[in-house]
Subunit: 377 residues, 2 copies
């Protein structure tokens, strides 16, 4: 294995271990302060070495976004898994197989139709946890916390002998906030919604032991989580430019970067061509709607120091076009062919998904390890 | 193996073999009519079963966008490979290793600096083909066909005993055309640029046997390719919504789709939630700048018939939000939880990259085979 970044084939995905550990420690302290359980989301890393540092114990608990993640982590000793996407009939056999392997599985749903489907299929497997997804921000799925449907779902399940394990929500709208105050307000909105849902179920005679919420922004900005039992968050482990643009982290907290190499220039346009295009960065343009648009990524030198005014202004499949940020007035940066740079990603989840491994780096240029990750379903 | 799509776990990538074969046949006839050699680009499929149908012989030639593609296809008998991204010093050892395995490798470059680097490193490996990349449309890399730099690169190489194998260009701007006439004009612009480059090199005493160009739109719309020896194209094998929006194919020619399942609703918003989000579709929004914005993809029924006014209007990592196209006036579509649909992708290259395999389907619902594909570098 190469022991330094210099001369490494590119593009390659780098993980700054010290930054990751610092991010994990920050969340750990916040969870401790909040006094709730923590169920990290492992969809960002899809990597056991990363997930074990996030988990309280090597047996979990964790949150997953796919059943392939559940398979992978179950095969590495995790015993408590929440599949946090509404369940469909064609996934129930898979969930049952995971439960049969000794995993304490939880699934979610947000309608009476789904509850009836689950009742029919899980009658003989009452140990699978069923949570009701609550919509706390109009962002995507979930039932409204003040709706009649919430109670109907709970009663449909309990009438058939399936105890409602709890309620869960994810305030994904927190990614669109524009200030710390707005994130704090969103965190409180997320909390009040999920607590209301739990209280209404309890008033209807449903115990609802788990009250789960979370996203990286709301988790880090929540002032208190009264009435909540469990926090979930994932992207905090690496952070990214979207989170930095939101003010949730500093650019220097971003643990993930793409190592790339200069392959050419179009000097009259001020372009430096890199061998990291949208396949290497992903097509994610999450900062496009933020005050500072980072293009396809913010370019840093090999040691990871941002070349503040240089971003990927465009990308083809395997070509990144590096240039001064429009309006910055910067020019004249000459990086010869063969120069290596590191590019910070807009979105850690989507960029990491383009790679099969993390190259773990220690400053300035040392390669410490290679950690495998997976993609797909 | 499941023999039908029904009940299959989702999301999953489907490949309609009959459509693919029809697309391949269309390009084969066009190449025959044009009277040039054909060097298919395999970056779209990254799959030997697909590539073998595109190639004239199982030994190639092919075009690749990464050296991992070169490794994979070399390991499956391909003997003639053009790596069509400008070469960097940290990739030369890899190219030499491929050549040592018996592959006839070609690389490209577009500057005197790169030519000097190649001269130093390839002095003992003169058999590696070196082509000069020409910029025919201002799209990304390449030297201008009428520039002094073109001749300087050629002379730098030849003075050191490296014969220029040829010139190549890719009119990527053809993806932004808005009419058949505009694509035809772009095809002619691509041809005249590359022929000019070859003629100028020849006038300077450089033989330049290979004159290579291509993209799917210009390849299919070129009226003649006088002076050209080789055409390259890739995405035509599957086509996608961007190509359909461009008029290069019909929606019914798109061979790739994502099988997804209904997991919920937000009825008051007209939303149907699917288990295919941006991880399943990719973040590619290539139709956003076209006359018809297809969101994150056009939804079809399980048999592949478009639900014409229904698209993914939004996407989270594992959630797709299906709704009527804004302005279409459509409403009232009720797809119960568990309903399976197929979603046509904006961009075949980026969507396919999210998967490890193609499920090959024959109409209406039969699963014929599973073909592996790879990603990464």
């Amino acid at each position: 294995m190469t022991s330094t970044l210099e001369g490494m084939e590119t593009p390659a995905l780098l993980l700054d271990e010290a930054r990751m550990d610092r991010n994990i420690e920050r969340m750990r302290k916040q969870v401790q302060r909040l006094g709730v359980a923590f169920r990290p989301h492992v969809k960002t890393s899809k990597c056991i070495e990363v997930a074990r540092r996030m988990m309280g114990s090597w047996e979990g608990p964790i949150t997953v976004s796919t059943l392939l993640e559940a398979d992978y982590f179950a095969g590495r000793g995790v015993k408590d898994i929440l599949y946090a996407v509404c369940i469909a009939p064609n996934k129930l056999d898979h969930v049952l197989a995971l439960q049969a392997r000794g995993v304490r599985m939880s699934i979610i749903l947000d309608s009476v139709d789904a509850a009836q489907m689950v009742v029919e299929r899980l009658a003989d497997a009452p140990d699978i946890g069923v949570l009701i997804e609550v919509d706390s921000d109009g962002h995507r799925s979930g039932v409204k916390p003040d709706s009649a449907e919430l109670l109907r779902i709970g009663l449909t399940l309990e009438a058939s002998g399936i105890a409602v394990r709890g309620v869960m929500t994810h305030a994904g709208s927190s990614y669109d906030c524009r200030s710390a105050d707005a994130i704090r307000a969103m965190a409180e909105q997320e909390r009040t919604a999920i607590v209301l849902a739990a209280e209404r179920l309890r008033a209807a005679g449903i115990a609802c032991p788990v009250v789960s919420l979370g996203s990286t922004p709301t988790g880090l900005y929540a002032e208190h989580l009264e009435g909540v039992t469990e926090l979930r968050a994932g992207v905090y482990v690496f952070f990214d430019l979207v989170m930095a643009g939101l003010g949730v982290c500093a650019v220097d907290d971003i643990a993930l970067s793409v190592l790339a190499t200069v392959i050419g220039h179009q000097r009259e346009k001020g372009w430096t061509l890199l061998d990291a295009g949208w396949m290497a960065m992903s097509r994610d343009r999450g900062t496009a709607s933020q005050p500072v648009d980072q293009g396809y990524g913010l370019v840093c030198d090999l040691e990871g120091r941002p070349l503040r005014d240089y971003i990927l202004v465009g990308a083809n499949q395997e070509h990144g076009i590096m240039a001064a940020r429009p309006g910055s007035g910067a020019d004249g940066l000459h990086l010869p062919i063969g120069t290596q740079v590191r590019i910070l990603p807009n979105h850690a989840c989507s960029t990491a998904a383009q790679y099969g491994e993390y190259h773990v780096v220690a400053p300035p240029l040392q390669l410490k390890a290679t950690w495998q990750r997976f993609s797909g379903w």
